[in-house]
């Protein structure tokens, strides 16, 4: 039976909702957020160029793969990035992410 990945998302206005995502889905977290109608632009379509899918990981950061160079470089240029900042477009969904809690941060 197919498992579900649960991700808790806090939007820019403080609203909190839990997303239930089928495990087999081959999407990035950015694509899931867009499909769930969160207010993010994701202008560049997932190339780590625009940082409009900037999120903060509130819980479960250890579940994520380490940042790649493109993502680190982009985060380093952001004025409002923190130690728990990530770009949602660089996070591929997988079952290990179950229980992740994030805050949708940027929409510049």
């Amino acid at each position: 039976m197919e498992e579900t990945i649960h991700i808790t998302v806090e939007d820019q206005h403080g609203g909190i909702r839990q997303l239930e995502i089928p495990e087999g889905i081959n999407l990035s977290l950015m694509e899931v957020l867009k499909a769930s109608e969160y207010d993010i632009l994701a202008t560049c379509g997932g190339m780590a160029l625009c940082a409009t899918c900037h999120i903060e990981v509130l819980e479960g950061g250890e579940k994520l793969d380490p940042l790649n160079d493109a993502e680190l470089d982009m985060l380093d240029t952001l004025p409002d990035a923190s130690d728990v900042s990530r770009l949602a477009c660089q996070i591929r969904l997988n079952p290990a992410l179950d229980g992740l809690k994030i805050r949708v941060f940027g929409n510049n």
Binding site: L49, P79, D80, N108
Partner: protein
Amino acid sequence: MITTDICIIGAGPVGLFAVFEAGLLKMRCHLIDALPQVGGQLSEIYPHKPIYDIPGYPSINAQELVDNLMEQIKPFHPSFTLGERVEALERRADGSYDVIGSEKTVIHAQVVVIAGGLGSFEPRKPEIPGLADFEGRGVSYMVKNPELYRDKRIVIAGGGDSALDWTVFLSDIAREVTLIHRSDSFRGAPDSAEKVFALAESGKIHLLLQSNLTSVHGNGTLKQVGVTDKHKQEQRIETDALIPLFGLSPKLGPIAQWGLNIDKSAIAVDTTDYSTGVERIYAIGDINTYPGKLKLILCGFHEAALMAQSAFKYVHPAEKLSFKYTTVNGIHTF
């Protein structure tokens, strides 16, 4: 003033291919792009990356595709204004348009085609109350002329390559340089980071790590910036100039003000000809949106072909358009 049939805003792959499709229908094109070279993102951001979904090419490097497109459109003698962003569109009484650039270039065209991709890449600005009031009065987001900072006190904010490089460069020119960075390390080129640490150690620059720019102060012109450290303590720094260097972000820019139907940073178009709601203005490639839109170069090519067929009536109103294959008709240059 430049006079042409079609003014194409954006010289990325789709804008370039539009020259070909327009050329087949005897329409001349002028392209304008904010970047200093043609190719858009392909040349600017990933020139060496392979693209796998261009029909007929199992794999082609981004720059090679741009070079090939330039070769393909050569017979139609396109002209270019590069390194200049479009600021305004002005409609003439006869329906044609003047496209006006940031350096005051004016392009008069019967038809305007927006092939602007993600928009133009503009400096990312930190959210600090009142910052905009000091733009041009002590605050700038890029260094155009380093000599302006000779013997001045300057504050640079940011942690990327350009923040590091300008800190190193300006440390020889300015009287006092302070670099503010939110983290305690730099991801930029290790060379530049080492130089910055060495300059800080020798007292030539002030380096404020784990700190954020939080306020700006002055009376008409910038006098002080507020910097908050990890203990939430704010200190004020006297300065003549502030240069926030937080990278570039693609923005729709002035296009958003042209009365077009904008949906989430993209221009809504009619898929029969990729026209916008405004007569004689078309939008093709990544900048447009419609049900089922895919941001693919190959889709942009298709959009360019349909756009050209539709634009013909504005450029050659007295002529009847008959569709011809290049295999039958060849390419008739002008």
